[in-house]
Every structure is written in C-alpha cells, then in structure tokens.
Amino acid sequence: MFKRKDLLGLAELTPEEINFILDTARPMKQIILRDIKKVPTLRGKSVVNLFYEPSTRTRTSFELAAKYMSADSVNIAASTSSVVKGESLTDTGITLTSMGCDIVVIRHRESGAPAFLARNIPARVINAGDGTHEHPTQALLDLFTMREKKGGIKGLTVTILGDILFSRVARSNIWGLTKLGAKVRVCGPTTLMPRQIEELGVEVYHNIDEALKDADVINVLRIQLERQDKGYFPTTREYSRLFGLTKERLEKAKPDVLVLHPGPMNRGIEIAPEVADGLHSAINEQVTNGVAVRMALLYLLTGGGAIGEAVN
C-alpha cells in the first residue's frame, strides 16, 4: 500500500513503492483502451492542476487521468491566475485547499517548489516537474514502458542522451532505473554534464557511439534551444552532429533496442525523424502510459484500496 502524503520525486521512493505504482498502472491502462473510458473510482474527489510553466502533454495527461476516474479536475495556468497579482505559492495553495481540493498537481520552474507547497498545505501534492529537480511521473511512465516492452527493468542497459545538467527527466530516470537494477549510462556534451554525477551510480559518456553500444533502451532528452545562447554548445547543427540519434547510430545498440523521448521533440536535432517514427520507437505509447501512471497515482494518493475495485 502507498502510504505517502505526496509524490515529490523518485529519489525518496523505495523500489517496492515504485513497483507498486507500476503494478497499479497496468489495470489503469486497460481502462484507457476501453471504448467507454470511465470508472467511478474517484467520484467526489477534486484535482487541481496548478501549472506555472507551459505544458500541453503533462497537463492534459493529468486532466484526462482525473476525468477517466470521475474526479473533478480544474486547470490553473499561472499566467491567468492571481499569481500575476503577486499571490505567493503558499497562499495560492491554501486558497485551493479551502475550496476542498484533494490533490494539487504542480508544475513549477523552481526546483523544490512542490516540496515547499507540500510542507505548507494539507492537500496532497504531485510533482509534475519542478525546475531541474525531478519529473517523477515522466520517469514512472518511462519505467512502465520499458517494463512492458522488455519484461522488466533489472539488468537493462539504458542510455540517457542529451542535456543531463538541466534535465529533471534525467534525474528522475536515474533514480528510478538505478533503484530497479538497470545499468544507466548518461551521454551528452561536457558542458551539459554535471560534475560528480557518477556518484549517483551512472556511467558517463561523451561519445555517443560508445554510449549506445549494446544498449537495450535509449531515452533521448529534449535539447532546450536556449542553451545555445548561454554558450553550452555552439550550434544546433554541431549538437546534432555529435549527439543526434540517427538511424546509423541506432545500429550500435541491441537489435531490439527501445527508443523513448519525453517530448516535445526537436525533430532533426536530438532525434532523426525516421528514428522517432521508426520501428524501435515507443514514443506515442509513452503518452498513453503516462495517463495510466497518473491514474494510478491519483488513485493511490486518495487512499485507493485493492486494484480490482478500481477498475469496476
């Protein structure tokens, strides 16, 4: 059973807790694949999606997850809320709690903002991505996809490719994968690789061909184009030449390699279109799995019991 008040990151979860969430997501996926995608499980519960950063995929995914479970969900974009009038995060959180909100799903550009909110309000908090800290639901859906496609996580060689320094997806993936026994490689330019990252139990590569050799899974990160202005790499052309995942490079990996990308993609920069749309890619399925994982979390955080009950 999941006993936590909040889901702030994978760093604090045990392997058992991670597996329990993934197990719970499996029947949830069945609901999404049905013709009538609606169960009454979370009827009477309310979920607020509090997004301080633009997001289509994650916000919609949470919203649909709540709706498929019959919870009431409300979206707040910081640009149209009292945040622009200078309201503090705590005050916003308390206001939402006073309206009876059970779960706040928060996306924020500041690392630690969900932890800060969780400390200050009684409602449950789900981190939907905070700064460069964690994006736990993304990592959970990545793990779910890998488990589904590969039969398990333990023993897999997973290469995370791209901007490791600023990526919350990379951090959450590293925690989740290492906890579940995968071998993790990180590969990217030296300027976008944190010093001491090896201490998290990963291998560091700066040569993509070496990093991809015999990989079971390649998780390609989105390269933020504004990093170029700050001088982390000279041009997208050079980035693509050194670190872009092309069809030729894919051949270094295992023949049944799985390609993931959290989206949105810069096609032709970090990933070639034919790889994104190719046979190895599970990028669209990741999106489906994202809804399932988020349904599982909403269910578990509102005190969900046995799984059979959830899908009735």
Partner: protein, 435 residues
C-alpha cells in the same frame, strides 16, 4: 560611577591575560585589571565561573536602516547584537538609499546614538549606489566616520574600478572589504555546486566564482598597497590564496561566518530557504579548510554577516528567496562549539578573533581591556545552555537555520562604554526603554 567585575576568568589576548582576576571600570573607561580590587563605592558584577572578555566586535552586519526597516532597524539590530554578546557592530552600506555619501553615514551614526544600544561603525560604499561604476565620495565618508568601504552584496566586477578604489582608499588608510564573487560564474546559482546541487536540481555556484575574485583582489592589493579584507571566505581555495598573500607580506586580512563553519551544503536538502545564503554553504572539505585557516591565523576574524529578511520574503520557493542568515544571537555559542569544544582554537584564540583582530582591521580603539580604553566588555558563561527559538530573537529577522538547535556557552552580559546593556540574554531595563 564605578563598576567592578569580580572574580571572572579574564581573557584579553591583546595583553596576553588569561587568568582569574578583577576588572574595574570607572566613567565608561577601564581603569584597572588585577587581583582583589577594592569594591569600595563600586557596583559589583559577580563573574566567578564566567569568562570576562573585551567587548566582542562583529565587523559585518546588515542593519537594513535606512530604507529596509521591515527587515531590521538600527534599534532592533543593535539589541540583537547586545543579546548576542556584541558591544560593537560594523554595518554594511547596502541600505536604501545606499550608504554611499556623508548624509547616509551621518544618519546611521545619529540613529545609532538615538536608538542603538551598542556601538555602530558604518561602512561606506565603494562606488555610487554600489553600481560598480564610479567611485563614491570615499574621502567625505571617511571624515564622517566610515571605518571601511565595501560594495558587499554587489561585487565590483570591473577590475579597473576596483584598482582605482584601492589606490584612492589608500590615501585614507581605509580598508576595502571585498565581497568576492564573479557574477558571471555565479549567475543563476542557488547553492554550492556539487553532488547535492545536482540531486536537488538547484543551479550550483562553483567555488571558482569566489576564488577568481579573491585572486584578482589580492593581485590588486599587491599593485596598490591598499589594505584588503576578504569578506566571508567560504572555500578551501580562498583560504589558500589568502594564506599565500599573507606569506608574501601583503596587507590582506579575512573573515569567516559561523554558518560556513557549522553547516554544509547538505543543509539545503529539503529546500529550507533559511539555508540560502551568499556565499553558499559549502562542502565538508571547505569547512575543514576554514577551521585550519582560523587555526593558523590565515583567517583573522569571525563575523556573522547578519542578514535579516522578513518572513514573507523568505517563505517562498528556494530560487525566489533572498540570500541571508541572521547570526547575531547565535554566533558566539555556535563557534564555541565548533572551534573551542572541538579543539580548533583555545578560548583566548577565539576571543582574539572577535576582539583585537577586527578592531585592528577597522582601526578601532577597542578590543582590549588595557586601562584607558573604553569599557566594552563581553561576559560568557561556558556552562549555560539554551535551545534556539527564532521567535525569541530581538532581531526582526527569523531566518535562521539553527531554530531548535541546543547551544552551549552563552553570552550573559554585554557592557558598552561601561553601561551594562544586557544580562542573562535580556536587554537591561534602561536599554529596553530606549526607542
């Protein structure tokens, strides 16, 4: 009016005194240090079992007045100082307006006269508005009582401006107190760069951001001959640079804060904004190097960098919170634990770092109990213990990461110019009423 401090362990490093004896004060001046002084006509302060030291001097605080009175005022900041055992504070010029001219320096001195309870020594800005561009009226401020100049919080990035400031300040023998931080290397940073910053996803501030500026300013001190005091040294590399500069005989001094001696970057885990400070809390290796630097004399003095903020300003996302820790009311017991109990410094060495050393750097006629000096005295009780409660601070600032810590060796009396302003952690009645 006579005051006899009887039977305490008197520690006065300037005179090499560390013995149980008496101190006699008359009309605000130390008149005698010696055994069995007659108490005739004198009020007696029983100090047996206590440490009697020259009045402690904190040469780096932010009193926030004028302009930022929601954070702190000269009245509340000097009360916090008295409660923490400090008889003198030197206040940084980053007020609103900036203390970059005689008018603001005079305002601070007048306000301290009117409402303060300890000595306040103003520090003037190096450049107008601490903008790092044009020199402030350094001479005018010097003649109005500024004891040093600093653009603390706003490092002078332009090397040529710093060179001119040093050349100019030398005319008045004024020390430049340099906040060493390369703003480009530190840009966007919230904490020390290291594994913890990677895990927390907070952008790191590398040690190099401090060290390149320490190196630059030492080189400029060599060029100009100006007295250079390095603010809040926080990294092992900075300690080594200062050590080499001293070995070379350059007029370079340095300070360290209690928080850089007692906390590491690990304290940031959990994103408590009270741990956000500039320079950031560093690694365990840095803390060890700072202690070594104090021990071998590389680091001259201990300062709080007392930086009060309102609760509202600090109770926000980590990245949005302003930098700063309040230190006046916790400094002495914190460093007693970290330095004396752990055997880094003797009690006399610790007292030196709070008294004669900062007095020497600022050119103050204080920091010792030599007869004829103003009677600033700090009395400590090694055995007294207390649990830190930010809500009982005299300071308006509650931004302390030490809330709930149990501390030992408390200041039990602060005497300023012969007047007892604090006993047992509480302001004396006449001082309480002084607003």
């Amino acid at each position: 009016m006579k005051l006899l401090i009887k039977g305490g362990r008197v520690i006065d490093p300037a005179q090499g005194i560390d013995e149980i004896t008496d101190v006699l004060v008359e009309n605000g001046i130390i008149v005698q240090v010696g055994a069995d002084i007659s108490s005739e006509g004198a009020e007696v302060f029983q100090a047996s079992g206590k440490l009697v030291c020259p009045g402690f001097i904190d040469m780096h605080v932010h009193l926030r007045e004028p302009g930022l009175e929601a954070k702190e005022t000269i009245a509340t900041g000097t009360r916090a100082a008295a409660a923490g055992g400090f008889a003198s504070v030197a206040c940084m010029p980053n007020t609103l307006p900036v203390a970059d001219n005689r008018a603001v320096i005079n305002f601070i001195r007048n306000q301290a006269q009117a409402e303060g309870v300890v000595n306040v020594w103003p520090i003037g800005a190096i450049t107008k508005g601490s903008q790092g561009k044009e020199l402030a009226e350094i001479g005018d401020m010097f003649y109005s009582g500024a004891k040093a100049i600093s653009d603390d919080g706003h490092p002078v990035m332009n090397g040529e401006v710093m060179r001119c400031a040093m050349d100019y300040a030398k005319m008045f023998d004024l020390p430049i107190i340099s906040h060493c931080e390369d703003l480009n290397l530190a840009a966007g940073g919230n904490m020390n760069e290291g594994l913890t910053s990677v895990v927390l996803g907070l952008q790191g501030i590398p040690a190099a951001a401090e060290e390149v500026m320490v190196a630059r300013d030492i080189i400029l001190a060599r060029l100009t001959g100006c007295k250079l005091h390095i603010c809040h040294v926080s990294t092992a590399g900075s300690v080594e640079l200062v050590r080499q500069a001293k070995k070379e005989g350059l007029p370079v001094t340095a300070e360290v804060t209690p928080h850089h001696l007692t906390l590491t970057e690990k304290a940031v885990e959990g994103y408590d904004p009270s741990t956000k400070v500039n320079p950031p809390l560093r690694s365990l290796e840095d803390v060890a190097a700072l202690k070594k630097g104090l021990q071998d004399g590389t680091i001259d003095c201990i300062v709080t960098d007392h930086a009060p903020h309102t609760v509202e300003e600090k109770a926000v996302e980590y990245g949005h919170a302003p930098c700063g820790i309040v230190g006046l009311e916790t400094a002495v017991p914190l460093v007693w634990q970290a330095l004396v109990i752990e055997g880094v410094l003797t009690p006399a060495q610790l007292v030196e770092k709070f008294t004669v050393k900062p007095a020497g750097i600022l050119g103050l006629d204080r920091g010792t109990l030599i007869p004829g000096k103003p009677a600033d005295i700090t009395i400590l009780d090694e055995t007294a213990e207390e649990t830190v409660d930010v809500n009982s601070f005299y300071s308006k600032g509650k931004n302390s990461p030490y809330h709930g810590w149990k501390l030992k060796c408390l200041p039990v009396a602060t005497i300023v110019g012969g007047k007892v302003v604090m006993t047992d952690g509480k302001l004396t009645k006449s001082m309480e009423e002084r607003i």
